[in-house]
Symmetry: C2
Subunit: 472 residues, 2 copies
């Protein structure tokens, strides 16, 4: 089915159907993505202020067969928010729909519009004495609509789940322009197909999320953080099991850190206190959030002591103050920034069955070594089986020299991930970057079902065409 461009005629019709100022020419920021891999294009940017206006836009786009690209905070890493080819699209930004519509502290629920920035939702929860646990590097920019559309992950998934698990209900405009009023605030609701979880993670290809009811949690009474030196990924895995047995749901994060990441921080001039000298090869960062009658320091000491006795942990620090906690977390959080300064040839957002992680790190290193003398920084949310596995040029060389090796490196990594029953996109999604990989590695029955669902809900194919899956 052919689509038509968002041309002057369509823009005029759209403008006439909406209040003044909703449709404007596209500024460059709507046409970019953080990795600079695609250059977006657009006939116009629509900034509706209500779900009814969104419905009007989608209805008119459907009638005119004009593609619509939903744009959130623009922080997505797989090109889901930019359409670089095909007929000129309309970019749809929900930035005007940024209200926290309601907070229900006694229900642990908050209702936010899709354009609300994550940090604002976190604040609103805190103002109500509650926690909204979704947390990731881009939280000052990323919007709820985009976070749900990509089923965002982050550092607290181990305890609280992905964005999907934090959402109780949605308001959305479906591709036919109808409004689904589904802002339920219920923990249990078994009334038919799970449209909510279908829109979550669909990256704007099955409709536009306009608001969401989100789960809040009691704030932990006390928190604690430790950075422990482990003998390797297998020891880290055993330590994770020990930490879970001790702390259960009080374990909010378990991050694997490789010495390479810390050495990159040193090499690229980050002013961070490195607690161990020399830099160890492998470390685990453990975060606890305890409720009452439970002391995180005691728990961390137990984990350290038992981990040490079991030969898993050789050294470690337990933060004794909020400042020390922040300093330990800074070591983890600056790794992606250091990576950027060094410049990766290829980076991979993968997940694996937990028990496969040690073998994966070993095998991937061995296979890649056959291709070149890379430096590898494997780190991430080990508690969720999620590694960021990034491949860098040898010291003193630049990524540009190896641009033609990227495909080969990625293919090697992804092949092994799939052999080990992992995922080639743990938390970033498919977007346009991994669309071909999805077809290559995806289960054929599932791909066929995905195409059938896409065609059924968006027969004209106007919603974010080219992202995730191409029907037909």
């Amino acid at each position: 089915m052919t689509l038509n461009p968002c041309d002057a005629g369509f823009v005029a019709r759209l403008s006439a159907a909406l209040p003044e100022g909703r449709i404007r020419p596209p500024e460059p920021r709507y046409l970019e993505e953080p990795r600079g891999q695609w250059q977006g294009r657009a006939g116009a940017v629509a900034t509706p202020a209500s779900v009814e206006e969104v419905a009007t836009i989608i209805r008119l786009a459907g009638q005119a067969r004009v593609p619509v690209v939903p744009f959130g905070g623009g922080t997505g890493l797989v090109g889901g928010q930019v359409m670089a080819d095909g007929p000129l699209p309309l970019v749809l930004s929900l930035e005007r729909m940024a209200a926290v519509r309601a907070v229900y502290p006694s229900e642990n629920v908050l209702v936010a519009e899709a354009g609300t920035v994550l940090a604002r939702v976190q604040e609103a929860a805190e103002e109500a004495g509650r926690l909204f646990p979704l947390s990731l590097a881009s939280e000052g920019t990323a919007q709820i609509g985009g976070l749900l559309s990509t089923n965002a992950g982050g550092v607290n998934v181990l305890r609280y789940g992905n964005a999907r698990e934090l959402c109780l209900g949605l308001e959305a405009v479906l591709p036919d322009g109808s409004i689904w009023h589904g802002l339920k605030r219920l923990r249990k609701d078994n009334t038919g197909y799970d449209l909510r979880d279908l829109l979550i993670g669909a990256e704007g290809t099955l409709g536009v999320i306009t608001a969401a009811s989100l789960r809040l949690f009691p704030r932990p009474a006390a928190v604690g953080t430790a950075l422990l030196v482990v003998d390797g990924p297998a020891a880290a895995l055993a330590l994770l099991a020990l930490a879970q047995e001790c702390a259960g749901p009080a374990l909010t994060a378990f991050e694997l850190i490789s010495g390479q990441g810390l050495r990159f921080e040193i090499e690229t001039g980050f002013d961070l206190r490195q607690p161990f000298d020399p830099v160890p090869d492998w470390l685990a960062l453990i975060d606890l959030g305890c409720m009452r009658e439970q002391d995180p320091q005691e728990l961390l000491e137990t984990i350290f002591t038992e981990g040490h006795a079991a030969g898993l942990v050789s050294d470690g620090v337990i933060a004794a103050s909020e400042g020390q906690r922040a300093a330990l977390w800074a070591l983890r959080e600056n790794i992606p920034l250091a990576n950027r300064r060094v410049g990766a040839i290829a980076s991979h957002d993968i997940s694996l069955p937990l028990s496969a992680i040690p073998a994966f790190i070993e095998d991937a290193g061995r296979r890649l070594a056959r291709l070149g003398a890379w430096r590898i920084n494997a780190f991430g949310h080990m508690g969720d089986g999620n590694l960021h596995y990034n491949v860098f040029p040898p010291a003193g060389r630049s990524r540009a020299e190896f641009a033609d090796r990227k495909a080969e490196v990625t293919r090697t990594v992804h092949d092994l991930v799939v052999e080990m029953e992992g995922s080639i996109s743990a938390e970033h999604g498919i977007g346009r970057l991994k669309r071909d990989d999805l077809v290559r590695y995806g289960d054929p029955a599932r791909l066929k079902a995905m195409r059938a669902i896409k065609s059924a809900l968006d027969p004209a194919g106007i919603m974010n065409p080219g992202a995730v899956i191409v029907p037909g």
Copy 2:
């Protein structure tokens, strides 16, 4: 699209395509459901032993346009497992596929076939030193396939979530006879549409779940239970907030009990020790599962003391032994049995936004009082906003006398639930019992999307026709 009956010719073709003994005449147990509201019919029962055999059956049924009714443990309460009219269906039972295929203790994952009884999965988890937390009254009979297909709830949802949240991946046969190999063991996997959560809760109308990878958890180091007398539903709600603030995720269950339920137990001759005399009007049963360095008795005492100081709790008992725990839980677990002995005119499995529960109980009582002098037993998983709201005849009268009032009573209850933004099916599903209610109360945009998805994935309409939704 017309369907054909499962007649002798089809049975012969099916038998020829499968190993000996897979197809047999329907015994009565496949044609019944616990509430005796429908009488099922079937041309035959198929009992495949592998996913390939299931695929063969579905493919042949699709070619012949013969309806297929998946049958699990048969414990469903909404008639999803029986087809009382239309062309004679094939009943598909996965009872031969009852293996726990693998347990991965270090990953907290277990892979079970769909025919595995829930109690067996719980045991296999325990043998590995882990917990599979799904727990409900029918766990000795209900099968994993049916539990997932209905997104079962139960007593531990507050802490661990519904069946959907306990499932990481599926193996399933889709309505076109293709096999989806989706038994992922991953916590994070953002590779396209969420087919898993779409099949979960679809009650066998979008395909047949043949196996699932399930989440396990560390077993709590210590457990504790208290039964507290509360001033009413509003006080119970405030107590829930207090318990969450104290115990956070250690709070595994928070059940509301009405005095009516306990009086029914006494009236119908259950030999239970009632800890309070006279029977209080409202009680809360609190269950904790603590990890190390955390004492459930201390936490329960804190909750009691602070609840008492706040005027929420007037009396209470904290179990001092496993026997006392079991005795407190027996008070809760025998309520449904006592209900059955009394005989409800109408029972409702509803959920509400937490903060609406006190007003709902008051308003529903008032509205129903205008219709008659009923006795009402409202109880259930208050922590999940899930009430079982059952309406009984006055003392000394029988339900049979009021059979003609049932529709009116249910309509009154469901109307109020929907007014208060609740759900008319919290955990039992839609099946055939609530199909018309779903159309009456459901969001039109969502219903249209559900019909489109059903038609897209099952264009011939062979999968459990008449359950959940009828495409238009």
